[in-house]
């Protein structure tokens, strides 16, 4: 009962701030609404018996990635113009897509037999680590995917550094100066 009340409160906050992301004219307000939405989502994860997923949501998304995003918004000139039109040509495609997707997800959720059971442990630390790093031969082998994902992120970072360096041939020149 108590969990249901918390769930409704957090759900309303999450949905409301997610709508705010769409409606806010200024990119920084949009980013902040997204942070609020993520924090309340983390609370919902905690309610559903996966505190680990929830806290990772706060640490990684709300803490690090959104901080980086606010940083970028503040550095770029976009922070100054609050005259961005709310709707333009792209919205013609985006809004129907969002509506269709939410309709589909809502239909699927209504059809699926979901019982709200707050006591079941779904994403605890032990469960997550067992699922991910089960190195036995019978395991699902997610750890290989995990390592490959790490490599993928590393290669993305290397590519970003390479792109950010303007002249590839001028590394020695720069050091001489």
């Amino acid at each position: 009962m108590l969990a249901l009340i918390y769930f409704i409160i957090l759900g309303v906050i999450a949905l409301g701030s997610a709508i705010c992301v769409f409606l806010s004219r200024h990119p920084l307000y949009g980013a902040l609404s997204l942070v609020l939405s993520m924090v309340s989502l983390a609370g919902i994860y905690g309610l559903l018996g996966s505190p680990f997923v929830g806290v990772v949501q706060i640490m990684v998304y709300a803490g690090a990635i959104m901080m980086l995003l606010t940083f970028v918004i503040m550095v770029l000139n976009g922070a100054r113009d609050s005259k961005t039109p709310m709707f333009d040509k792209v919205s013609l495609f985006v809004i129907p897509a969002v509506l269709a997707l939410s309709g589909l997800v809502g239909f699927a959720l209504v059809q699926a037999p979901i019982a709200f059971d707050a006591s079941a442990l779904r994403g605890s630390v032990a469960l997550t680590s067992q699922t991910l790093f089960d190195t036995s031969s019978k395991g699902q082998g997610y750890f290989v995917l995990f390592e490959v994902l790490g490599l993928l992120l590393l290669s993305a970072m290397v590519a970003a550094v390479l792109l950010a360096k303007k002249r590839l041939g001028s590394i020695n020149e720069g050091e001489d100066k």
Binding site: P51, V55, G63, M67, F71, V125, A126
Partner: protein, 452 residues
């Protein structure tokens, strides 16, 4: 609803609710840290520090409480100053920003174990209460999550002020916070690998039964200390509010209590970080060389030793007072009688404290008979022993954390401010790599030795 309440004895509910009082510990630490910082700065710069403000009471005259009254004056000043809002600021975010770091201060203490898990006999059954407000398996991760959110205060303040100095300060803060949080998390991983749990109570009990984290992971300790000093944004890493470049950084446009909230948020952050370091690397609430079981088996003796240590500290303070009074009597200072009259009050208080502590220690030694009962093949003590153990644990943790708070002050007044690119260089190219290598070496050694 009523079944939930009836499922546990009332004493468990009482202790569980009383533990919420620990949320106010960082705020209380501000009262301790600000005078400590001022007197410490004075000590390092070979001067007195603030010692002029006083309270006048009837017989003893001007009471200065060793410079502590200055603190109250500052607080009163900040509270009663006019709250101004510069024109052109973004009103909503400008007013919201100072509240964010200060609100997080109240959330952060919930995962720190303030004492060992209390286990005692009550009404024929065993009651277990954990030492932290929220005894969760994610423990330390939650603390990192909160501290990463608290940087939003500085960032929003800088942006909402619409001032170039504030803005630059905010940019620097967000960059420094992101960089050093990576180092903070990575340097911690070695300890977590050895313990095999995120829960801080587990980490402390591992340290209690093996070795302290600072012995097992000395390199990680140094990295963690540097990264957490940088994360609090204090000198030598305070480029975000460097006076020579940015006036006051992100809180340039703030005054009165809004500035005060940032100021208090910074000091509470120091408090939380020193509690975290002493929990992770210095054994937390564990008494050095003595296990909790030994303390509980000899509860009366432990309490009287505690009283003895406190009495010794008070006696040392009295010794200082007497020595200084003797020196003062020989001088020709005009105000020496006023000062001596003030010291008379301290001496009376000190001697009363010594007598009370010695009496308490003797009572504990002779009169304390802990009740022991065996329930389900387990030795369980009464509630008196459990509360006594919790008290000793709490005091030990406070001593360790105050020692670390002193490290913060010590570093601030010793090292000059780093340049901004030096900070980034130190964070990304030195500490991060050391922490990574440390993690890999720890993992290999732990695998070879056969740990977790």
């Amino acid at each position: 609803m009523i079944e939930i309440i009836n499922s546990r004895p009332w004493i468990e509910w009482l202790i569980t609710i009383a533990k919420f009082a620990f949320c106010f510990v960082p705020v209380l630490y501000i009262l301790l840290l600000i005078p400590m910082e001022r007197r410490g700065a004075g000590f390092m710069q070979d001067r007195q520090g603030p010692n002029r403000s006083y309270i006048k009471i009837p017989f003893f005259g001007k009471i200065r409480l060793l410079g502590y009254v200055q603190n109250m004056c500052d607080g009163a000043k900040l509270f009663f100053k006019e709250q101004f809002t510069p024109s052109g600021v973004n009103k909503f975010l400008y007013n919201l920003a100072p509240a964010i770091p200060f609100a997080i201060v109240f959330l952060s203490p919930c995962v720190i174990p303030w004492f060992g898990p209390m286990v005692f006999e009550w009404g024929g059954s065993v009651v277990r209460v954990s030492g932290s407000i929220l005894d969760s398996e994610i423990g330390v991760l939650l603390l990192f999550g909160f501290s990463s959110l608290s940087a939003y205060g500085a960032v929003l303040a800088g942006w909402a002020s619409k001032s170039k100095y504030s803005f630059l300060g905010a940019l620097r803060t967000s960059a420094t916070t992101i960089s050093y949080e990576v180092c903070l998390g990575l340097s911690l991983m070695g300890v977590l690998l050895l313990v095999g749990s995120f829960n801080l109570t587990d980490i402390v009990s591992w340290q209690e039964h093996h070795v302290w984290g600072i012995v097992a992971q000395p390199i990680a300790f140094v990295c963690f200390l540097i990264a957490s000093i940088a994360e609090t944004g204090r000198a030598p890493f305070d480029v975000a509010e460097g006076e020579p470049e940015l006036v006051a950084g992100y809180h340039t446009e703030y005054g009165a209590m809004q500035f005060g909230l940032f100021y208090m948020g910074e000091y509470s952050h120091i408090c939380i970080n020193s509690f975290l370091i002493s929990t992770l690397f210095l054994g937390g609430y564990a008494v050095p060389f003595v296990t909790t079981e030994t303390i509980q088996a000899h509860m009366g003796g432990s309490l009287s030793i505690l009283c003895g240590v406190l009495a010794f500290l008070v006696l040392a303070f009295l010794h200082l007072l007497y020595r200084y009074s003797r020196k003062l009597k020989k001088t020709n200072l005009t105000h020496k009688n006023v000062v001596l009259r003030e010291y008379l009050l301290y001496k009376i208080c000190g001697w009363v404290a010594v007598l009370v502590l010695i009496a308490g220690g003797l009572c504990a030694w002779f009169l304390f008979n802990p009740s022991v009962s065996f329930i389900g093949g387990e030795t369980v003590y009464g509630i008196g022993t459990a509360l006594g153990t919790a008290l000793i644990h709490l005091l030990v943790l406070v001593v360790k954390s105050v020692a670390f708070c002193w490290v913060w002050i010590w570093v601030r007044w010793t090292l000059p401010r780093f340049r901004y690119d030096h900070i980034m260089h130190l964070g990304w190219k030195i500490i991060l790599n050391i922490a990574l290598v440390n993690l890999v070496v720890t993992a290999i050694v732990a695998k070879l030795v056969g740990g977790n």
